[in-house]
Symmetry: C2
């Protein structure tokens, strides 16, 4: 597993594998595994008819997947079907698990997800990480990872890889945090500070949030823009079911799109960036509140109580988001915009002015804006599921590793 686990890839499972006999076998292993996961329990004959291979070919592939612990036999199918009863196959509830981790400005979280997509273990620790150096933060995270892995192992799972979501820009090596202003980190190689025995992928929280939306959301299209926020505002661009990463891996920096070219100065060097109008701290300032730890909770609470100052600040933030998203929608023509991450908690007060602004600036049909059902869980789930997806997309790589 040398390539980033969650790299954008063409539609079908395993399409990125080489165009050789060996590559074809690996793609077919992925097809069998994906089919059983999506439609199982299934007999070998049912899998064969669904993917258009012979029963004999499927049997060989299934045997390999059972040996690797990725599929399991549930025993003979219920009677009443035509022909000799086949043994029903299901994706294993033991076998490999994806370990997801999240470094938030105010918390750390880790979870383990099995091949069926079930979260099997989870650990969270609250506490401000702002301006702490990476070493103690990652030492704490490592503790949580060990705890979650031990729990998963006690249920017969083994960790296939670790994916870490961070609130910052990550280099295309999928290890180095180039800039995480709200943690105060830059050019930090997380690979040297995390357990060396797990294949590692680090990515921006907005990217993992978008992947969670793509994989676990309710009817999410394959082309959408995912907007999320902690203190900064990030976005992820999903095109044809894959992340658009950009040359350096920095695509999706919605927070620094200018919305008022002569507006207030921003830490990025620009003026009037979206973050100056719709970032959590900007909204708190506009509402006359002090930034504390549970910023979204504070704003949502006050807004729900009817605090007119907070409501007006959120309305203005929604308008600024609408201006920036008009630009993004004009450039990308996505099928929809999804508000996710911490931002989803403020959606009731942001959405009306955001939608108004988008509609006011759009001649034709307006791009629909929805709110993620995954909410703040998105990035952590996206991280864990990216490891699981990598196993499903190339089971042969994991079999070699097991």
């Amino acid at each position: 597993m040398t390539a980033p686990l969650h790299e954008a890839r063409p539609a079908g499972p395993g399409r990125a594998l080489p165009d050789t006999q060996q590559g074809m076998r690996r793609r077919n292993l992925a097809r069998v595994l994906h089919t059983v996961r999506a439609e199982g329990p299934l007999s070998r004959a049912a899998v064969a008819s669904r993917i258009g291979l012979t029963r004999a070919a499927v049997s060989t592939l299934v045997d390999e997947l059972i040996r690797s612990g990725l599929l399991e036999e549930l025993g003979p199918e219920r009677p009443g079907r035509v022909g000799r009863p086949g043994s029903a196959l299901a994706v294993s509830g033991r076998g490999p698990a994806g370990i997801g981790a999240e470094i938030g400005v105010d918390h750390l979280a880790v979870c383990a997800v099995d091949l069926r997509g079930t979260t099997r273990s989870r650990a969270i620790r609250q506490g401000a990480n702002r301006d702490r150096s990476p070493q103690p933060v990652l030492a704490e995270l490592t503790e949580l990872i060990r705890q979650v892995v031990a729990e998963a192992e006690s249920e017969g799972l083994w960790p296939a890889g670790l994916a870490v979501a961070v609130p910052g820009l990550v280099a295309r090596d999928a290890r180095t945090v180039v800039r995480a202003p709200n943690l105060g980190w830059h050019d930090t190689d997380l690979g040297t500070l995390l357990p060396a025995d797990l294949p590692l992928t680090v990515d921006n929280e907005a990217n993992f949030g978008a992947l969670a939306e793509l994989w676990l959301g309710d009817g999410t299209p394959r082309d959408f823009l995912h907007v999320s926020a902690e203190i900064g505002i990030g976005a992820a661009v999903v095109v044809d079911g894959g992340l658009l990463r950009g040359t350096r891996g920095f695509a999706g920096e919605l927070g620094h799109v200018p919305v008022q070219p002569d507006g207030p100065e921003c830490a990025c060097g620009g003026r009037g960036c979206l973050e100056q109008y719709a970032g959590e701290e900007a909204v708190l300032r506009a509402a006359g509140l002090e930034p504390g730890e549970d910023r979204v909770g504070l704003l949502a609470g006050r807004a729900a109580e009817g605090d007119e100052g907070v409501r007006r600040a959120l309305r203005d933030a929604g308008t600024a988001l609408g201006v920036a998203l008009t630009g993004a929608v004009n450039l990308l023509d996505p099928e929809s915009v999804v508000l996710g991450g911490e931002l989803s908690g403020l959606a009731p007060w942001l959405l009306p002015s955001l939608r108004d602004e988008l509609a006011r600036r759009t001649a034709g049909p307006v791009c629909p804006v929805s709110v993620s059902r995954l909410g703040p869980q998105g990035p952590l789930l996206g991280a864990a599921h990216s490891v699981v997806r990598a196993v499903l997309d190339d089971p042969a790589a994991v079999a070699r590793q097991a």
Copy 2:
């Protein structure tokens, strides 16, 4: 050739073809043709060693390509090489040609390009097409197409397809002009108004300009933003060597990115769109000039003479472009921005303020901005070459058609 000829596709030739024995043969035909085109003249043995197939397999593929008129034998290679002399192969200078056409606001143009990439015939007609109905414009264009095809045929070529560049939004059916405000056309199916005997692809001029830059430019990266203009301002987003089209095919509408949210009203329904500051007519207005036919020529001429009003108007347009491009660069993280099409003629006066603005608003390394060497020829060349590329990427489709 049912799919759009120039659809974004993965890196290798023919990668979109199905994963079957038949698909593998078609991909291998494409590999042979691309290899000879890039490195020819080459012997069969040289081709075999370059693409990693046996000499016998390559001979079969070469025979098929020669029968279809895509490759030709130049006769025995020069002596002095080791072994029995093989016959050198080259891409045919007869065989299929790509017919490109451009519907401009002030002109019509058509050209024919052979498989080697050489323009073999060309026709241009000046004249305002603004607010003319599609029928007479396309009747004139059809005349030019017939003329160019006849010239190409007299040199032993045959037209493999027709690609038409238009200054407007094109539906994903690659036939229907949804909206071309500067022609006054909307929902116009060009398929019914152009020669029915040629496979047709219609696309936005910015998209074809970007493809020309990708294929014919000097060291163009595989991830870039191409900005062009006639009266409107369009852009095309190239990601990993393919166009990002968007859900409806409308991606790249840079002209309607807001740069001053409270600025002047725009025909799109918005306010303060880039087009209100950097479109040709806005710049003419700002400079106190009347919009005529050769708008870019007029502006470039006056600016070169030192007209301070024109220079200031262009400087301000460059600043507005810089604001809009800051947003685009933050969202897409391209390797570079290329100014092409008619806009390239104004680059000397736009670029300084554009680059300043981008640098002022960027914390890290600034995204480089360059000017297309293809200039206003880009869209027409991109159209013709898109037909040629489609032949190179799937020669079997053309062989069946020939």
